[in-house]
Symmetry: C2
């Protein structure tokens, strides 16, 4: 019998924000698949997961390039899927970990689809997202009542940013570090500069929650920085 | 010293999808505040939380009316805040539980703000949302790469539904049970009827995941029903 691939969300950063189910799976995992970028010394997801791992596990590190080149990306995902399939064929389970939740901007889903197509048994374990944890740390809601939420990955240019700022009650901008000046300009134009909260490295030791987003423009912000804009204010 | 109010997300339904932190707080909670609607026999959030509670706890049930009448709502939230404040004044902590995550369409935030205003110590513990759990059960992503997500509470009429369907890559419609016929009509008009997945009672015993959303129109769907629309298909 072939093994099962688990796609496990380890939560937003604080190891206590992992689910009981994720913990249980990690505690019995022999094979841990960890996505990494070139830049990272140690994967943040792995630094959470290792609190729960058995003594002797097989670490499968996959370096995925931080590129928008789809050919290069497909190649690296295919390679990871091949390696994981080999383990599954040996009858062993593989646990692929991901920061936050596997369904929200994670590399896991590419691997997941490839292995589903090849007929393997898979299971996704959802996790707490960084934007929910950021809202909790800032003491604000992401939406109430009839309000809407837009979630935008801000490391890309967003075509309809203006329309979204005009029409959504709450806007979550993920990974804003590089584009904060541009975003702030837009917020100023829309009269929303005082309606934003920035949360950086949520739940980690050097977390920052800041409502004066203007003054952060020139700072070297972490990749893990989320901006929450509340069009109707914080109430 | 006054006590602390904890706003705890207990996750989407499966008791194993609660976080370690939420479990730890529940295990030492003497006072459990539970929001309830008139219709509910037992709160779903409470049915999860009670797996972790001590033998003798003080149950504080608050019946919040299922109404859009803001006067009536304010009155019931104020009453709940008063009751909780009394306990906090006695130096006891109070744990207010909420299904999913406290920042996403939960009653908790109204109570939270009232108690922050009165100067009490508060802490929010984020949880796994129903939409992340629904995506996991359906085996799909909520967003990848440069994709955007819109989240709409569908028990209300959404003013710019057309624009959202035209411009967002992924659309999460929460609590669609009552408006599924109307939504399906719109999806048909936009050529999106085959791009939707409906998840009802996610993670509960009688969970349903259905891609043929048209056939569900005449069914009596649970209040806990989420529709995920993927404009670019499931890939």
């Amino acid at each position: 019998m072939t093994g099962r691939l688990y796609g496990v969300g380890v939560g937003p950063g604080d190891p206590e924000l992992i689910t009981l189910k994720a913990k249980k799976i990690l505690e019995k995992s022999k094979n841990i698949a960890v996505p990494k970028s070139y830049q990272e010394k140690e994967s943040v997801a792995f630094s959470i997961a290792k609190n729960f791992l058995i003594d002797k596990y097989n670490l499968m590190e996959f370096v995925f390039p931080m590129t928008h080149d789809s050919k290069e990306l497909l190649k690296s995902w295919g390679k990871a899927a091949d390696d994981i399939a080999l383990k599954l064929d040996e009858g062993e389970d593989v646990t692929f970990i991901t920061l936050g939740d596997p369904s929200v901007y994670s590399t896991y889903m590419y691997i997941h689809r490839q292995l589903v197509e090849r007929g393997y048994d898979v299971e996704i374990i959802p996790g707490v997202t960084s934007f929910c944890a950021s809202a909790a740390q800032a003491g604000i809601s992401l939406a109430e009542n009839r309000e809407t939420i837009a979630i935008i990955p801000s490391s890309y240019q967003c075509d309809n940013f203006d329309t979204i700022l005009d029409s959504f009650d709450n806007i979550v901008m993920m990974k804003v570090a590089k584009n904060l000046s541009y975003i702030n300009e837009k917020l100023l134009e829309k009269g929303l500069l005082n309606n934003a909260v920035l949360v950086s490295k949520c739940g980690m030791e050097d977390q920052m929650v800041e409502r004066n987003v203007k003054k952060l423009e020139k700072q070297n912000l972490s990749y893990f920085t989320t901006l929450i804009i509340k069009r109707n204010g914080e109430k």
